[in-house]
């Protein structure tokens, strides 16, 4: 990591607690949703073929994604704020590369997502869930969740921030992240999804493949096949989205 990247990562990390509303509201609803949904849909665990007798175990990977996918958008809100306040342009008058500015923010927010996703997993454990792949698997799950958040919603919201330069426009798109996760087997198995049309949508949603790898880590252990598919999805989406983001980032030079 370059010295500039570390300095800019540190800047964002130091400032995270200074905006407690962002820090709290980006994880509190997920924790509440986790508990409420867990209680509401708990009965599905009694249906034949359900893979675990603890519904929180089944729900935990989706709750991690619900933290990391919308949560990464706070990085884009920070970017839009820096553009709106002109601070980004101030940074660009210094000997700092655009790559360092981007990496600094992503590393800081990636760290935040790790901590927030970890809080979700700790809550799941407190509610009786067990992570079959242990601590290493839990960390891998958080990594997959954070990377997927970056290459999907992170890319989308960063480009929105660069185009609109408006933090409110970025915040307005937050609910779309939940749609991305709801259209998966986050809450029930594929067999329990009533509509064939919905099953077809789920089968083409890349989130489903990432979720499956994370669920395998929770319920069965290290399934390198599903983990490989998840990373292939992440790399594929990254190859499309990141160059576009870098190109748009360069457009701040008028």
């Amino acid at each position: 990591m370059s010295s500039a990247t570390w300095l800019l990562t540190r800047r964002t990390l130091i400032q995270l607690p200074r905006n407690p509303m962002v820090l709290g509201f980006s994880v509190a609803p997920v924790l509440m949703m986790f508990v409420v949904f867990g209680a509401l849909f708990e009965s599905v665990k009694h249906l034949p073929g359900f893979p675990t007798d603890n519904y929180f175990e089944y729900l935990a990977p989706a709750a991690v994604l619900m933290t990391t996918v919308p949560g990464i958008a706070n990085a884009a809100v920070g970017l839009a704020t820096d553009i709106q306040s002109r601070y980004l342009y101030k940074l660009l008058t210094m000997p700092v590369s655009i790559g360092s500015i981007m990496a600094g923010r992503l590393l800081a927010d990636g760290t935040r997502l790790f901590i927030q996703g970890g809080a979700v997993l700790l809550l799941a454990i407190a509610l009786g869930a067990q992570i079959a792949s242990g601590v290493a698997g839990a960390l891998l799950m958080l990594l997959i969740g954070a990377l997927f958040g970056i290459v999907t919603f992170g890319v989308l919201t960063a480009n929105l921030a660069l185009k609109t330069k408006d933090p409110q426009a970025v915040q307005a798109i937050f609910p779309m992240a939940f749609l991305l996760i709801f259209l998966t087997t986050a809450y029930q198995t594929e067999e329990q999804v009533p509509s064939s049309a919905l099953r077809a949508v789920i089968s083409i949603n890349p989130t489903e493949y990432v979720l499956q790898a994370m669920r395998d880590l929770t319920l069965t252990g290290f399934d390198w096949g599903s983990i490989g598919v998840a990373f292939a999805v992440i790399v594929g989406l990254g190859l499309v989205g990141l160059p576009l983001t870098i190109r748009n980032y360069r457009s701040v030079y008028r």
């Binding site: 601070y87 101030k90 940074l91 660009l92």
Partner: protein, 273 residues
């Protein structure tokens, strides 16, 4: 500002801020900017700024002053001509230009969640200073611009004038040979404007820094600048020292820069409040 503080600041530097190593700190040759929508913001501007000189780009809003400065500061890509700052080409060597440059911007770019001290230390470190040296200079500079008491408060609580002074201090943290000031007193009350003028007087006298500034205030240009270029519609219409420019009109008993501007362009300019 206090002279002894400035001397203390210079004493900590291994090279003087005026040490750009070139006679012409800024060379601009037929520089142009045409935006994709067809707007020609700058239409072939040429000028030179000698090392240690204060050079003003004077003109109304929209004349092309800030775009010219943006191109020289590597924030805006030129579409024609070339320019060097401290001997470095702004297109081919933007990083070297940024190392040689302090840039206080028209729309102040500060980080509201950071304190004044944190901002200056970060900027110093991004310019390659050690943490200790960056912290030392941050303390001196914030005192110099009158932010000492508020240095540990977050800048979200600062007034516009305080943010502008912090921005000026941050532009000086690495003691650059060249300083860009884009409308340095725009939006300030007379007290704030006087404070900035006093600060610039000291910088010029003590550091011998090369300063390029834009302004649309006649009084400011007359007081601070060694030479002036009046810009209108993206072109330089007249250039010289304030006295030379006034001498070109000459007939009236008392000639001001505003008279020069009106004579050159036929357009009114704002007068400092």
């Amino acid at each position: 500002m206090h002279d002894d503080r400035i001397r203390e600041l210079i004493g900590s530097s291994s090279r003087g801020p005026s040490g750009a190593g070139v006679d012409d700190a800024i060379v601009v040759d037929d520089l142009a900017k045409r935006y994709p929508n067809g707007t020609e913001a700058v239409r072939g501007v040429s000028f030179r700024v000698l090392t240690g000189e204060v050079f003003g780009l004077l003109g109304p809003n929209g004349a092309g002053k800030s775009t010219t400065m943006g191109m020289l500061g590597t924030l805006v890509r030129p579409t024609g001509g070339r320019a060097t700052v401290a001997g470095h080409d702004v297109v081919e060597a933007p990083r070297q230009v940024r190392r040689s440059l302090g840039f206080a911007m028209q729309e102040v770019g500060v980080d509201d969640l950071a304190t004044g001290t944190e901002l200056l230390i970060l900027h110093g470190r991004l310019h390659g200073l050690s943490r200790r040296e960056a912290a030392r200079r941050a303390g001196l500079l914030l005192e110099l611009v009158g932010i000492g008491d508020a240095a540990r408060r977050r800048m979200g609580d600062y007034s516009g004038g305080m943010k502008r002074r912090v921005d000026l201090a941050s532009a000086l943290i690495h003691l650059p040979p060249v300083l860009f000031l884009d409308e340095p007193t725009e939006g300030l009350d007379p007290h704030g404007r006087a404070a900035i003028w006093a600060a610039l007087d000291r910088l010029k006298a003590e550091l011998g820094m090369t300063i390029l500034m834009t302004t649309h205030f006649m009084e400011e240009a007359d007081r601070l600048c060694d030479r002036i270029a009046i810009v209108d519609h993206g072109r330089i219409v007249v250039e010289g020292t304030p006295e030379e420019l006034k001498g070109q009109i000459g007939a009236a008993d008392v000639v001001t820069l505003e008279d020069v501007y009106l004579n050159s362009t036929g357009r009114e300019l704002e007068v400092a409040a």
